[in-house]
Amino acid sequence: MDLDTSKKIRVLLIDDDEDDYFIIKKIINQIPHFPFQLEWASTYDEGISRIRTRQHDLYLVDYRLGEKTGLDVLKDAAPQDRSEPFILLTGKGDRDIERKSMKLAAADYLVKGSFNADLLSRTLHYALQRKQIEEQRLQHLVELNRSKDEFISIASHQLRTPATGVKQYIGMLMEGFVGELTADQQQMLSKAYESNERQLRIVSDLLKVAQVDAGKVKLKKTIININELIADIIREQKSTYEQRHQKIIFTPQSDECAATIDRDSVRMVLENIIDNASKYSEQDTTVTVVTKDDNSQVRVEITDQGVGIPLSEQIRLFEKFSRINNPLSTKVGGTGLGLYWAKKIITLHEGAIHVRSKEGKGTTFTIILPKKGQIT
């Protein structure tokens, strides 16, 4: 891998001492074939604004910059996120500064007055080369990740078709398309149907997560009355709650809880949490949903009297594939993707999702959604 030598490498020196500029310019001009072109920014502010223009290939940053230091430049410019290397210059060898600059992702460190054209040339070239290799590795990882997302997406879609076939044929049998069934037959088919439904849900969850991970989720935000949305979800889940002998109580504390959200995705998040509240609770328990509108945000609290989540497990709750062991988790059989996705979606809305829970007592999920936001 060779650096392109056909055009000059643009180096920006950020240094408040004009003498330093002339000295370094002189040394750089002694490098054979003049590969470098030196430019100069004499203050911290000028340096930062010229770094932002991204016109240079490499930065030499003096440690002393008036009230600021070269470390401030590193902090603000974030070399780890950039493809150009930063090299720190200082008046004398200082181990502490050296360590700090490396932590802030400086590529190297030079002591002023102690380098000649040969050393400077080597340092600059090596820094550039290392950064280039790093970039290529990063690029490779990005591509690898993309092909992983693509693979999950294709594989999941492929799995959907045969499972849809199973759904149709078992569905036809259950609905009496080819004659009456005995109670036993009906029961077995119903189990097969439910298993297949679970498989379809896993496929959907995988697809949703792959999409959000790939940054492909586009929110279509409009102003939505959260109270209406929740009332609608509860209406839909009412029969499920009744089957499980559980109650659900909705108490809006504000007349209107309008938030600027993507209706479909937030609905799925709320559906998931309200359904979980029931799934992780025993019979004869109650789930309460409370909404509140305070001028800047809408707060939704969903509280159950269920099995609860141990404190040690609460931190893992929103991680991908996290399955929490509790007396009902094997019966429920979730994918460990629902809350991961929920958090991603709420974060995309610049909102927040929290959990409070006590083992054996119950859990409260709090979702905070910003009222204002750009309608998209």
């Binding site: 078709t161 149709q168 569905g171 609905e175 398309f177």
Partner: protein
């Protein structure tokens, strides 16, 4: 079942195509089938416009989007096209809508009775 109508199923998966045909026929509908957009065009040429069309998007030979372009759906107002796909890619669905499809159903969500309900709903809207 309220009404019987002419329905065209365009689906490349043989088992699904079979299932949809059986489900819809059992309710008394007059069902035609096609396994690609190209076949669908041929069936329509021979049999005329159906009242309802279930259209898969991803199919070999001619996919659903290309079919919609060639069929020129807005010119066939009597036909209601339901995109019946397992690909919930928003872009593709939006494109189908812009080409004249009127509904979108995720195949994996539609059990036999839902399929019949969707068709019934469309037919009663037409009344």
């Amino acid at each position: 079942m309220s009404k019987h109508a002419k329905i065209l199923v365009v689906e490349d998966d043989v088992d699904l195509n079979d299932a949809y045909r059986m489900i819809l026929s059992s309710a008394g509908h007059d069902v035609s089938i096609a396994f690609s957009g190209k076949e669908a065009l041929e069936v329509i040429k021979k049999e005329g416009d159906p009242a309802v069309m279930l259209l898969d998007l991803r199919m070999p030979i001619m996919d659903g989007i290309e079919f919609l372009k060639q069929y020129d759906a807005p010119e066939h107002k009597e036909t209601t096209i339901v995109v019946f796909s397992n690909y919930d890619a928003q872009k593709e669905v939006d494109e189908a809508y812009s080409l004249g499809a009127e509904r979108y159903v995720l195949k994996a969500r539609a059990a036999p009775k839902e399929l019949l309900r969707i068709v019934d709903d469309i037919l009663s809207e037409k009344e």
